[in-house]
Symmetry: C2
């Protein structure tokens, strides 16, 4: 059994770090307040994120929101938000999420200053950033001090498994999802137990107001129409099950250690071909985009392998576009393919014979092997991009996917870039399921 | 509808050809008789084969047997048989079937003089050659003149389909099998009708004394323990069904025309790799050898494709050895293979994870895709011969096949020889099912 108490001791920020966080956040709050007063800005700063909820791991960031009155236009709010950020963070850069925000470092702590609008939980939500203050409030009210430590253990466990964080690169469990898991299940031990027993779908909370096809649905208590776990990808969901089962089978300290960077040597000389398929992100809700992109990934896999390519792996991410990486064995198909027909004794054998005896594309046959009809057909298109495009164009894959199809771009990854691309897409896959 | 009367008119030997056959056979019979008398040899010449049965197509050979008393030893019989053959055929060469025999040309007719022992139908048989006189006698007694013409149509039909003849190159329907089909079914039309309706197995006659796994069993009326159709391969059996179904669907003259030589151009630039697998023929009855060789062919196909080679085709023949040709896409496997594990939620997921986390051959994973576990495993052996040998050695394929396995030789067909080899093995496949 791992020494959970010791692990927690090291994971929890030291008194010194906590004091530094408090001082720094206090300084920034004051700085923002005085700026707003001097400039007659109707906005109030608020510490959010794991530090404000008391669920932060050692070394975590500081998140400060500037909550604007709804009297401001979105444009005005964003303009003023950036100004305020630059004012209180000397060494700052602008970044962009749902609103633009400012990021910098103060007293050795990474600080984000993010503008948002004020909301209460009973009104319809404008943006997901604007919900953050409500989440902070909910967790502060509803988790005990002991449970906050349980959240820390869970975060560390999922981080070690490579599935902590909701960013696109990870598509894993956000801090808020970890907190809701402990809120529902009470302890780290019971959460791992729960994960280890999951099947294809899992839910927590009253899902009667949620329409989602995600594997994991955790109802957001501050907005019962929202799935707080929408960013958890299918792969991350299944990884959490796998790692929970491994842990229960033989618990150990290694399940709380951060993974090393994947060994690059694993990617040497694979002798494969990489193609990156990029599709314009359609104008749809995230949840629908993701499930459609998953379908497209499966379809690309199927068309490629039906056409005669060996598919070693695919990986899909959604960012500004939908990106699907595919690793295959060859760049060009063989000159011909073997097409299997029905058994000679079946009712449609005659139809097959008549069709292929008159088909110009046939290069051998129809012939018989083990009682079945076969024909060898010339592969008229042989390079992967054209084979894939032509294969997809023949499939009716639904309204959403059809519009996505039209914007498909396929590029071969250049030889020097293969390692980098593979490590990027596959990296998590290597680390995740063998924490030792 | 094809003009069957006209076709038959052209297929049947002309009066001139028949007279020539009669004169030539008479001459040889007399020549053999006088030689035997002069040299006190206790043997009697006998015209056998299609001419003697009246089922010969125009241009057929003349088969003369020299039937020896059973007082002679096999060795003595063979020695004298060759002497007699050379004596009556000026331009003669020795050939070898079950006994050695002499082949030559006389008056423009190809003549075989074959020695054998005398037998009656109620004794146990010494060799298959020795059975031929009994077959000749049976057909002469049991087929009417009209039925002999029906045999001619059937032979022509099967010849056009590339499945007439019992020689190894064809593994099709012998003349005797054609005669027995008409004996049982009466006419060409009814035989085609019968063929077109066959499923996986077919029998004619009382099969209660026959133990055979052949698709087609036609009891030899001169030896009820023998399957007269044992030489008909599975492929030829199914081809007869296919061509019968095509013919009934749209009968035409082309079903009675001899096939052209397959277009060699079909074999150009296939971009494939050919390997010939040779196995010592085990000391077993032909029927068992054949079914075991078929199993071996299927196993080779399966091992190759399970190992990661794309198999375009295999072809098996039994002659002095068992020869299996296999056509595959590459000579070497990729550096690694993707090995699929169980679903993450299944009972044996944990076992898979534990096994592969400790396996040195793993180069990526275990990772998750669409809820399943996968691992990438190094291909330690990559060249086809070694992959095949190693794959077969791990399989327990029964007593007979195991002894065959030990004598396996695998050679890569050299580049210049590919066309020749493909035409030899696949040639029939091309011609058979599209007679037009």
């Amino acid at each position: 059994m791992p020494d959970l108490k010791g692990i927690l001791e090291r994971a929890r920020p030291s008194r010194e770090e906590s004091d530094n966080l408090s001082r720094t956040s206090e300084y920034i709050l004051n700085s923002i307040r005085s700026y707003c007063t001097s400039n007659s800005i109707n906005a109030e700063p608020l510490v959010v994120g794991s530090f404000s909820k008391g669920t932060n791991l050692s070394g975590s960031d500081l998140d400060i929101f500037v909550v604007f009155s709804k009297d401001y236009s979105r444009q005005e709010m964003e303009r003023l938000g950036l100004k305020i950020g630059h004012q209180c963070l000397p060494d700052s850069r602008e970044k962009y999420a749902e609103h633009p925000y400012v990021s910098g470092t103060l007293n050795g702590i990474k600080v984000d200053v993010v503008p948002c609008f004020q909301h209460s939980s009973d009104e319809s939500i404008i943006s997901s950033v604007d919900r953050t203050p409500l989440h902070t409030e909910f967790i502060r009210k509803n988790l005990s001090e002991e449970q906050k430590d349980e959240v820390r253990l869970l975060k560390l466990f999922l981080k070690s498994a490579g599935i902590y964080g909701s960013e696109i690169r990870v598509q894993g469990f956000s801090g808020y999802v970890c907190e809701l898991l402990i809120y529902h299940l009470g302890t780290f031990a019971r959460t791992v137990e729960w994960l280890s027993g999951l099947k294809e779908k899992a839910t927590l909370g009253d899902t009667s107001h949620i329409f989602s096809s995600s594997s994991l649905i955790i109802v957001d208590p501050t907005d019962i129409k929202r799935n707080a776990a929408a960013a958890v990808s299918e792969d991350s969901y299944y990884s959490s099950i796998a790692v929970a089962r491994c842990y229960l089978d033989s618990p150990g300290d290694e399940y709380f250690k951060l993974p090393e960077y994947p060994e690059r040597s694993l990617y040497r000389d694979r002798g494969t071909y990489l193609f990156l398929i990029t599709v314009r992100k359609p104008d749809l809700v995230d949840d629908i985009i993701y499930s459609q992109a998953l379908r497209l990934e499966k379809m690309i896999r199927q068309v490629s392998s039906d056409s005669g390519f060996r598919v070693f792996g695919t990986h899909m991410i959604v960012n500004g576009n939908i990106e699907i990486l595919i690793e295959i064995d060859v760049e060009y198909l063989p000159v011909f393919r073997t097409h299997m027909g029905p058994p000679v004794t079946s009712d449609n054998a005659l139809e097959f014979l008549k069709k292929w005896n008159e088909d110009e594309r046939r290069i051998r046959g129809p012939y018989i092997s083990a009682g079945r009809l076969y024909v060898e057909v010339e592969n008229e298109i042989r390079d992967f991009p054209h084979v894939l495009i032509s294969g997809l164009s023949r499939k009716n894959i639904g309204k959403h996917l059809n519009t996505m199809k039209d914007s498909i771009k396929i590029e071969r990854i250049k030889e020097g870039d293969e390692l980098r691309i593979l490590a990027y897409y596959y990296g998590r896959g290597i680390r995740r399921l063998h924490p030792s």
